[in-house]
Every structure is written in structure tokens, then in C-alpha cells.
């Protein structure tokens, strides 16, 4: 039996500011925010004793809730000017009253439109027992989560919700996002921050003194005024609650269709966003892939304990290249759409699928510690977990998700192991195609039924092959590279990265939409 709290966003929008940036909306709703909304409803509607008991039971529940929430689309954050109320005039004209003006203050109201109006918080192992009625009553009183315009309907459900909604589960090491959570003592903390009972007592005392005042002599009135002033100085404003316990969450792993072939890497790649820290550039071009991945690899190795394992370093203990799959760095770029710019949005770390739990934890620990990157003249960049709702940072966009894909095209060119010998153009393409097919088999895929070699990518905004710097061999000579389209007989699942530069970001492929059949 599980405890499920259902929340429906009645206007179709969630209006709540991300605590880490006032220019972003918070989505999915943090469990702490939901608890604060329930606590507020409790405090504002008479503080019914049973509701307090139910809230204290809720905060004590072991384990973190799973969130079932669809993706959301953010509205651009604009500055609204809101009339103040400390002065009756100003320089801004009022829409509502001709001839009147008022000073205005800038405000922002970040909001997101969830794809699904309803969200669930689920504690799978909770047994509501006798707390259900009080929780249900309290949920019925919750009117908003976030800003006052973020109207909601909230309720308690038995059992777990429909599993077609994407789920977020708490995870300490493979987090995509960080959410604020609540725990034991949360209700008491909120009560203390608000200071309601102390304030109510002071007001009561002041009111009693004011009532007495009119019947007193002037001297006594003066004393009463002094006492009222002293009491007023004890009043304090409510303190804004911070609820600052954060928990990592990741998208719940779907049970994958095992009939669809995958590669030597785990489909669940670890996504990190690249954000400028100290750089002249606001964005990095895809063509800077090799510089970025080289810096990343160096950073990961620095955070890895000696002896460096092959599955991270890519080298055997004797320094020779490893024969086993190892961590690959995949450049995730804004490509494919009408307004795509081709710039680098983030990096995905592809972990070899065959690692045991200890090895995987070891790799994730090293990756998780890399928070900043210095990329030579390109400056310093921050590595942030999570996709922040951006489509091009979602793993399934790059791996084909559970269903996989038949048609793939390169986002970075495939670097060839050797030069093609044929002089004839068509024969050379066949030779290169054969190398690519071998490359697919090397990473665990069946060979594609067709390979098309191209100087440009089939994905919009990807730079042409010649715009990417060439990989160097040990002898200093250049490796040739080219873009390509790969068509498989049946769907396959990524991440697909092929060729001599596959661990360093070259040869990365992304599914082509099935509607754009070639």
C-alpha cells in the first residue's frame, strides 16, 4: 500500500520561482514546496489538531517520495512593473484609473506549462492508516503551490498512480536534478519561522491595553502608550523559510525492451550542462568538441584514485590502449530544429554497460566530482547536473529511448581508422561505409544495411565535416573524417559513437526522426 498525493494545476501553469535562480521556474514541484503549501493551509485555516498530527507523520516517513510529473515548457521570463502601495503617486500611469499615477517596482513571475496538468508524490512503502482522513481534509484546503496564481487541486489517493507519467526517483549518485525535500521537524521549523503564536499573543495584549486606555488618567495613558510601544518593538516579521535540504533525483529507469540491440555503453548516459564561468564566449561551437572532451577527461582522471582503472582511463596498466570499452564523452548540441544554433549545450558521460556495481559507482563518483572545466583559451566552464528541461539535453533524444531508432545521422564526424585506398569516389565511399559497419559491430550493434557518406550532417545546424579539426595519429598525421547517415534494418538503441574518436566525442550519432524517412 502506498501514500499518493495528487496535485492538479488548474490553470495549466505552475508559477513558482526556482530557488537557485529567480529567472527560472521551478519544475517539477519540489517536495518541500508541496509540504510548505500543506503547512500553510493548516496554519491559515484554524490549525486543526488532527492535521498537525498527520503532517508530523508525513515528515517522519522513511525514504524520499517518487515524483510522477511530465515535462514542462517554460515561458520566457519578462519583467512586470507592479504598482507600489507605500505612496499614492508616482511616475507610472495606472491602467485602472485615469489621471492617477503610481510608482512601480519590477517583478518577475517565472512559470512553466507542464505537459500533464497532474503530478503525483508517492511514498511506496507508507501505510497511511488513520492519517488518511486528516490528510485528505488538509489537501482539500491547499489552494496554490507557488505564486497565488498557481491554483491547484490536491487530494490523497490509494495506491500508486498510472505509470505512463514519467517518474523521478531519489538517487544519491546519479542525479539529474536536485530537489528540496522535507524531513522530521519541518512543521515545527515552519511554525518557528512564521512566529504566529507569539505575534497573536502580543496583538492580544496590545488590544487589551488599547481598550483600557480610554478610561485612564493622562499619566496612566502615557504609561500604557509606553507599554504598547515596548510590545510593538517585540513584534517581528515572519522569517522566510529556507527548507534547504536537497536531494538528488533522476528519471526512473524504464525497463528496456531487450529485443532492441544496444551498444557497449549503458543507455542511461549521465548528462551535464555546460555553463560559462569565466569565458569570453557565451557558447561553445560543436567544432570545439575535442578541446572540451580532452579537458573533461583530464578532469575526471584527476578525480580518480590511483591506480587508474581501464574503464575510466582507456589504458592498460602498461600504458597501452585498452581493448575494453571505457567512459566516452559525448557532445550534446542544440541541433536538428528550425532555430538550432549548433552550439554545445552539455556533455553526456557514457558508462560501459558491463561494469559491476563497484566499478560503476567508482566511475560515477569521479564524474560527479568534476564541477569546473578549463578549456584553454575558451575559458572556464561550470559543469551542472541535470537537463533543466532542455530537449537537447535529454538522454532519450540522443539514444532513441526505449524504442530505439532505425535511422541515425552524425552530429560529429566519424574519424576513420585508416585512409581509403580507392581513387574512385563511389568505391571510396563503399570502403568508408565498410569501415563504419565494422565500427558499429565493434560497439555491439548489428551492421547498418545502408551507410551514406556526406560532407555535411543530416541534422540542421551541425557544422560541415571540414569545419571540425582532424584527430591526430601518434605519428602526427591527420585522420580523415566525414559525416554519415546510418540506416539499420531494425531499431537500435544508443548511445552510438563510432570510429577512431568515439571516446572523445567524434562519431556521435543521433536518431533522425522516423517521419523524415530517407
Amino acid at each position: 500500500m502506498a501514500l499518493t498525493l495528487g496535485i492538479r494545476y488548474l490553470t495549466g501553469y505552475a508559477v513558482a520561482t526556482d530557488q537557485s535562480s529567480r529567472k527560472r521556474a521551478e519544475w517539477p514541484p519540489h517536495p518541500a514546496r508541496v509540504f510548505m503549501a500543506m503547512a500553510a493551509a493548516h496554519f491559515e485555516t484554524g490549525e486543526v489538531a488532527e492535521e498537525a498530527v498527520a503532517l508530523r507523520w508525513l515528515e517522519q516517513l522513511p525514504g524520499k517520495p517518487t515524483l510522477y510529473a511530465g515535462e514542462g515548457d517554460n515561458r520566457s521570463v519578462v519583467t512586470t512593473y507592479v504598482p507600489v502601495n507605500d505612496k499614492p503617486t508616482g511616475s507610472g500611469m495606472l491602467q485602472s484609473a485615469v489621471g492617477l499615477s503610481r510608482s512601480k517596482q519590477p517583478r518577475t513571475f517565472p512559470r512553466v506549462r507542464p505537459h500533464e496538468e497532474t503530478v503525483y508524490l508517492v511514498w511506496p512503502d507508507a501505510e497511511p492508516n488513520g492519517y488518511h482522513p486528516a490528510l485528505e481534509q488538509l489537501c482539500g484546503k491547499v489552494t496554490r503551490i507557488g505564486h497565488s496564481s498557481s491554483l491547484v487541486h490536491m487530494w490523497v489517493e490509494d495506491g500508486e498512480p498510472d505509470e505512463t507519467l514519467p517518474a523521478w526517483e531519489a538517487h544519491d549518485t546519479e542525479a539529474d536534478i536536485q530537489l528540496r525535500i522535507f524531513g522530521p521537524g519541518a512543521l515545527e521549523y515552519l511554525e518557528r519561522q512564521y512566529g504566529g503564536p507569539e505575534r497573536a499573543a502580543i496583538y492580544k495584549h496590545i488590544e487589551a491595553l488599547q481598550k483600557r486606555r480610554s478610561d485612564q488618567t493622562k499619566k496612566e495613558q502615557k504609561a500604557i502608550d509606553k507599554e504598547i510601544k515596548a510590545l510593538q518593538s517585540e513584534l517581528r516579521d515572519p522569517l522566510r523559510p529556507t527548507m534547504s535540504v536537497w536531494q538528488g533525483y533522476r528519471r526512473a529507469r524504464q525497463k528496456l525492451d531487450e529485443t532492441i540491440p544496444g551498444t557497449v555503453w549503458d543507455t542511461n548516459v549521465i548528462v551535464r550542462r555546460l555553463v560559462p564561468l569565466e569565458s569570453r564566449h557565451r557558447r561553445l561551437n560543436l567544432a570545439s568538441t575535442l578541446q572540451v572532451t580532452a579537458a573533461l577527461h583530464k578532469g575526471v582522471l584527476k578525480k580518480t584514485d590511483d591506480p587508474l582503472p581501464e574503464y575510466i582511463s582507456g589504458h592498460k596498466p602498461d600504458g597501452t590502449p585498452s581493448d575494453c570499452p571505457h567512459v566516452a564523452y559525448l557532445p550534446l548540441a542544440f541541433v536538428g530544429g528550425e532555430h538550432a544554433t549548433g552550439h554545445l549545450m552539455g556533455i553526456a558521460f557514457a558508462i560501459p554497460a558491463g561494469l559491476d556495481r563497484t566499478q560503476r559507482r567508482h566511475a560515477l563518483a569521479a564524474i560527479g566530482q568534476v564541477e569546473e572545466l578549463t578549456v584553454g583559451r575558451l575559458g572556464k566552464w561550470k559543469i551542472r547536473p541535470g537537463d533543466e528541461g532542455m530537449v537537447n539535453l535529454r538522454p532519450e533524444v540522443w539514444t532513441g529511448g526505449n524504442d530505439g531508432a532505425r535511422q541515425w545521422a552524425t552530429v560529429t564526424p566519424i574519424a576513420f581508422d585508416k585512409h581509403a585506398k580507392a581513387k574512385d569516389h563511389a568505391e571510396r565511399d563503399q570502403e568508408l561505409g565498410a569501415m563504419i559497419k565494422t565500427g558499429c559491430e565493434r560497439i555491439g550493434l548489428p551492421p547498418p544495411i545502408q551507410v551514406v557518406i556526406m560532407p555535411v550532417s543530416a541534422h540542421l545546424a551541425v557544422p560541415a565535416a571540414h569545419e571540425f579539426p582532424r584527430l591526430k595519429r601518434k605519428d602526427g598525421s591527420d585522420r580523415r573524417h566525414a559525416h554519415a547517415i546510418l540506416i539499420f534494418d531494425t531499431p537500435v538503441r544508443g548511445p552510438i559513437t563510432i570510429g577512431a574518436g568515439r571516446y572523445r566525442g567524434y562519431g556521435l550519432c543521433r536518431p533522425l526522426s522516423d517521419r523524415k524517412e530517407i
Binding site: R8, L10, T11, G12, Y13, A41, E44, T45, G46, D73, N74, R75, S76, V78, T79, T80, V82, P83, N85, D86, K87, P88, T89, G90, S91, L94, Q95, S96, A97, V98, G99, L100, S101, R102, P106, R113, H115, G140, K141, V142, T143, R144, S148, S149, L151, H153, W155, R199, L235, D237, P238, G337, E338, H339, S513, R515
Partner: protein, 453 residues
């Protein structure tokens, strides 16, 4: 086919467990489907945009905000005020009467011949439906009731005790504050003053928006030529062609022989000119006083290459209005300290009916959101009653909404609540009038600096 809403259905919904009434209406530009509309622009000349997935479209479409939550609330209050003026509904309002302080003849007198209590522009009566912060607004706070500051009067002091558990004072003085929200942040308790979150939220979004560009130009009927200047600035801040009337450029307190041109430069500095010189800077051109032709130009372009503030075409606009019933259910309405479930339900039903009436009246008035943004709906408003398990739909045309409101008011009165039908009239304090006069003078000075006498 949706049936008409009745008072009984509304009352049961308020009493029960329904989550909300929600109305989603498709609108089109008055100029016809596909004609351009102009959304509100925000700092930087940008629109508020978002992406939305539509089932029939592969890629998400761009949507643009056409009327915000705050603006929709203002329009509802405006519609209610109009209905009150036309005596179609009875609604407690508080008015501050500025009419005695405007006199046409006094308004045009020079400053030194005018009293500091003579308004330059008429303001008329400002009601709690117009004041930005409703009953908690500074205008009402700085006004008098029977000679006393409003919030220190017997009536005004009741607001100090208003809370969710005691919403009666606001119900009887300003019920729209309970519906559309209020925070008494500038009252005696400062930031701890009564706070009521809104129960009614409405917004209009244009769906599948494509940005357009705007042209601007002007043909001067007087055909004043570009080189007909220079315009100098006179002592009053207006412009003059006569150097003798123009302000002098001074150096160490003495005139240099140059005169100050009408407009300041981009750094806010005066620009001098020697009378008689053939050429002069742009700050002296007739166009700085809004005379002459303006060369046709296109909208500015943002760094992404998109036109700014050039309007949009949309597939349709969607107005979504939601009335939250839990928000109303948490309000309590004691009388003389006594609570009653029947009275609470009656008052909450009045507020719900008021919300439906406000939406209907605003719709009936037409959605003339701003210049070149007039929308209309060819369908009646249909409200969905949202429950967990099901959803019922009801038509609520304006007459029905008003009829339900009247029935609800009568029931509330029977339960012991009062419903003021005549406005409570306040007098603005002398300080408020003087401040307003000063503010109006300031606005005029600023507009003269921009556009001449």
C-alpha cells in the same frame, strides 16, 4: 449541450468537494482569423513567449501572452464598475471623491495663480475597484471618513481585524478583495497585515504565434521641412525659433553668445548653438518637437534576428479562467463573534457568483486589450465544474450570472451578513490632494520636455 447554471448547483458546488469552475474559451482577432494582434511588450520590447505541444502538430508551437493575470483582474473590476454604474448589479464599493478639486478654469491658470489643491486633470471618483491594491490601497488609506483618517474610523478599523477566519469586514466593504486578492501591507500591521490570496485567475494566450514586423512613418500635414529649425529651448522648457527667447549657454555664470537647443543629447547634456550658423545638430531639428515627416522604417530586430514588437498572427487565442472553490471554502464569516456554516456557505456562494459575473461582464464588454488587439469569442462561455471523477459543463450567460449573484446576495443577507448597495464615500485628505497636484504638474513638465508646448 451544456445546461444553464443555477444558484442551487453553484451553492452545492461551493458546499461540496468540487475543485473549481474552469472556463476555456477560444477567441479570434476582430479583424478576422489570421489578422495581426499586438501582445503586451515588456522591458526590451519583448513579448512573453512559450512553447506548447499540440496533438495535431509534430513540433511544439510558439505561444505568446496576450493578457496577464493582473491585467485580466483589472478588466474584470472595470466591467463590474461599469455594471454598478449602469445599476445592473449591486456591489459594496468605497469611493474617494476628487471631483470637488477639479475646476476647468483653475486648471488652466499658471502655477502661481493656482491653489496647491487645484487638480490639473480631472480624476473624478476613484473606487476600490480601480485602486491598484483595492481596499488596502494608499489612496483609501490617505482619505477621510467623516473627518477621520479612513483606517482610524470605526468602519476602517474593522479591516485591521480581517483574516481568513474573519473575512466578514471585507465581505461587507470590498468583496472583490476576497475574490481577486489583497494584501494590507501598508496598514497598521505593515507587512503582517491581512493577506488574501486570489480565488479567481484568468489569462489570455495566443496559440501558434508567428512574429511580424511593424512599420512606422508619419506624413506631416504641415509639411514642415527637416531644416526649418533650429529649435531652441525657452525658459518654460518648450521650444522657440527666436534666439531672443531662448535659454543662454552660460560659462562661469555669463552668457557665451550661444543658445541652448531644444533637446538634450543622449548623455542628458545641453547642446549649444550659435544663432546664425547655417548648420545645427539634430537636437534642434523640428522632429524633436514631433513636427515634420518621419521616414518609413521597420521594427527593430533582436540579437536572434527576430522583429521586436511587430505584432503576431495567431491560430487562435485561448482565455482560461479558473475559480478556485477551496480558496473560497477556507474563508469564514462570523458575525458578532459567532460562526455559522450556513452563513459561510452563503457568503462563499456570493463570491463564486461574483467571479462568474465578473468574467461574463468582462467578456460582454469585449476584449479590447490594447491598440490593435481586439479579440472576440463567437461561443458562449462554458464553465466546467471540476471534480476528481467527473466534469459537468454549464452555460453562464451574463443575465444568468447576474441573476445567480442576486439570489446569492439575498441568501447572504438572510443569514445575517450585510451588503452595502450605496458606495461608501471618502474625502481625500489635503495632503493627498496636494501630492496629486504636484504629481500632475510633474507629468506635464516631463511631457513638455519631450514634445514642446
Amino acid at each position: 449541450m451544456a445546461e444553464q447554471l443555477t444558484y442551487k448547483v453553484l451553492q452545492e458546488a461551493v458546499k461540496g468537494t468540487s475543485a473549481a469552475f474552469r472556463c476555456r474559451t477560444k477567441l479570434q482577432p476582430a479583424g478576422g482569423e489570421g489578422t495581426k494582434v499586438f501582445p503586451p511588450t515588456y522591458a526590451g520590447g519583448v513579448y512573453a513567449v512559450e512553447k506548447r505541444r499540440l496533438p495535431e502538430r509534430e513540433e511544439p508551437v510558439t505561444c505568446v501572452l496576450l493578457d496577464s493575470v493582473q491585467s485580466q483582474a483589472n478588466r474584470m473590476e472595470e466591467a463590474l464598475a461599469q455594471a454598478v454604474a449602469e445599476q445592473r448589479i449591486r456591489l459594496p464599493v468605497i469611493e474617494v471623491d476628487f471631483e470637488p478639486y477639479f475646476n476647468e478654469q483653475n486648471a488652466v491658470r499658471p502655477m502661481n495663480q493656482r491653489s496647491d489643491m487645484d487638480l490639473l486633470d480631472p480624476v473624478g471618483k476613484v473606487s476600490s475597484l480601480q485602486a491598484p491594491h483595492r481596499i488596502a490601497d494608499a489612496i483609501l488609506r490617505d482619505s477621510l471618513l467623516e473627518g477621520k483618517p479612513f483606517r482610524q474610523s470605526d468602519v476602517g478599523r474593522t479591516i485591521n481585524r480581517a483574516s481568513v477566519q474573519n473575512a466578514t469586514p471585507l465581505f461587507e466593504l470590498c468583496p472583490t478583495a476576497l475574490l481577486l486578492g489583497m494584501w494590507d501591507s501598508a496598514g497598521p500591521k505593515g507587512g503582517l497585515g491581512a493577506k488574501f490570496a486570489r480565488a479567481l485567475v484568468s489569462e489570455i494566450v495566443g496559440v501558434d504565434a508567428v512574429k511580424g514586423l511593424k512599420t512606422s512613418s508619419r506624413i506631416d500635414p504641415l509639411q514642415i521641412q527637416k531644416n526649418a529649425g533650429p529649435l531652441y529651448r525657452n525658459q518654460k522648457g518648450g521650444w522657440t525659433l527666436d534666439p531672443a527667447e531662448a535659454m543662454d549657454e552660460l560659462s562661469k555664470g555669463k552668457p557665451t553668445g550661444k543658445k541652448i537647443l531644444f533637446k538634450k543629447n543622449s548623455k542628458g547634456k545641453d547642446v549649444p548653438h550659435k544663432p546664425g550658423d547655417d548648420t545645427y545638430p539634430d537636437q534642434g531639428r523640428p522632429s524633436e518637437a514631433n513636427h515634420g515627416n518621419v521616414t518609413p522604417a521597420l521594427s527593430d530586430i533582436d540579437p536572434r534576428g527576430e522583429y521586436l514588437a511587430g505584432g503576431v498572427t495567431i491560430a487562435y487565442a485561448e482565455q482560461t479562467s479558473v475559480l478556485s472553490l477551496p480558496a473560497l471554502r477556507r474563508l469564514r464569516f462570523p458575525v458578532n463573534g459567532e460562526h455559522s456554516q450556513q452563513r459561510d456557505t452563503a457568503a462563499r456562494t456570493v463570491l463564486a457568483a461574483l467571479g462568474l459575473a465578473a468574467t461574463a461582464l468582462a467578456d460582454e464588454a469585449g476584449l479590447d486589450l490594447r491598440s490593435r488587439c481586439l479579440l472576440w469569442s463567437k461561443d458562449d462561455l462554458i464553465w466546467e465544474q471540476l471534480n476528481r471523477a467527473q466534469m459537468d459543463s454549464y452555460m453562464v450567460p451574463t443575465d444568468t450570472a447576474i441573476s445567480i449573484l442576486n439570489e446569492a446576495i439575498d441568501a447572504a443577507k438572510s443569514s445575517g451578513l450585510s451588503w452595502r448597495e450605496d458606495p461608501l464615500v471618502l474625502t481625500p485628505s489635503d495632503q493627498l490632494v496636494k501630492l496629486l497636484v504636484k504629481s500632475q504638474e510633474q507629468v506635464i513638465v516631463e511631457s513638455v520636455e519631450e514634445g514642446g508646448d
